[in-house]
């Protein structure tokens, strides 16, 4: 239906679907691609945005040697079709009626379902306090940079904190390094305010970020995680 480039290795694809019901932000869809030979393969992708009218967006990061993502990022053309199952799952999802503060921790393209929650919060007019701690390798790899800046500039209950792991822009206060306890302690609310935490990213990132949250005193039951595999940053 539509497509736009986000970074050198990621793009957002907009799909129209005949039926799209029960969407909650944070959910994913299963995508099945079938080759002419009959070989087919399936992968899950987080929904980046959706509206009630029959369309949704995926932001896909190209995984080198991946079976599905290179096609979605480089080849799929407007008008092409694919088989999709979803939206799936009520677990890693933000219930829009909750007033609870929300702490979002994303690594790399793990920011995609978290961005869906931020967009949905704006869409439904929720005033729940949101804070996003977003780890990316460098400025060039930050997804939704302008939109995040715009949204946080006009909404004092939405805070976006960027962590760079490989190279930070000149003058950026924090030297590049992996996310640390201090990042989450300094940048996010204290555990005493009991936010719901959503952590999404590659396996190693989610593992360390959730350990850091536990060490800071967040209750295990308040932390929901989504690991999307061993690759990425």
């Amino acid at each position: 239906m539509d497509a736009r480039r986000e970074t050198a290795s990621a793009r957002t694809l907009v799909f129209s679907v005949p039926s799209w019901t029960g969407y909650l932000s944070g959910q994913h869809v299963d995508v099945r691609l079938t080759a002419e030979s009959g070989y087919s393969t399936e992968r899950s992708f987080s929904v980046a945005a959706a509206d009630e009218a029959r369309c949704f967006e995926l932001t896909v990061q190209r995984v080198p040697d991946g079976e599905v993502s290179p096609y979605l990022v480089e080849e799929m053309a407007i008008g092409d079709q694919m088989e999709v199952r979803g939206p799936i799952g009520g677990w890693f999802a933000w219930p829009p009626e909750t007033p609870d503060p929300i702490l979002l921790v994303g690594g790399g393209s793990g920011v995609v379902p978290l961005m869906a929650m931020i967009r949905e919060r704006g869409h439904v007019g929720s005033s729940a306090p949101f804070r996003l701690v977003y780890s990316a390798r460098s400025v060039d790899e930050v997804l939704y940079r302008d939109e995040l800046a715009d949204r946080s500039a006009t909404d004092d209950r939405l805070i976006v904190d960027q962590v760079y792991t490989r190279s930070a822009p000149e003058g950026y206060g924090r030297p590049p390094s992996r996310i640390s306890q201090m990042d989450l302690a300094d940048l996010s609310w204290a555990a005493g305010s009991a936010p719901r935490c959503y952590v999404c990213g590659p396996n190693g990132f989610v593992e360390s970020a959730s350990q850091l949250l536990l060490a800071l005193g967040h209750a295990p039951a308040r932390i929901r995680t989504e690991r999307f595999g061993p690759t990425g940053d």
Partner: protein, 104 residues
């Protein structure tokens, strides 16, 4: 390790495990409800967790779900031309919450 007929046994590599949420779609289709919130009790160690928080291996033929604590298999689902195969062996119980409703 190699076996005499030339096949190779490989261990499930935990670094490739995803959260069970990635398997929710496959199990939702087989069960007809939103599977992500189903509470599973492991038959091996008794650990209870929502499906979304177990370990999922989705790269094989079919999808395998393992206990987050002891790594025992608690469920498998695979779709073949002959139909969808579902095995809950390895689990003690699957509790579908009242809100599970239709598949997501």
């Amino acid at each position: 390790m190699s076996i005499s007929d030339g096949t190779t046994m490989v261990e499930l590599d935990q670094s490739h495990a995803l959260d069970g949420n990635a398997a929710a779609g496959a199990f939702s289709v087989a069960l007809g409800v939103d599977a992500s919130m189903i509470d599973i009790v492991c038959a091996e160690c008794g650990y209870q967790a929502p499906l979304a928080e177990e370990r999922a291996y989705v790269e094989g033929p079919g999808t395998t779900l393992c206990c987050r604590r002891c790594a025992s298999v608690v469920g498998r689902v695979a779709t073949t031309p002959a139909g969808t195969w579902l095995s809950l062996s390895g689990s003690q119980s699957w509790r579908l919450p009242p809100s599970a409703g239709a598949p997501g």
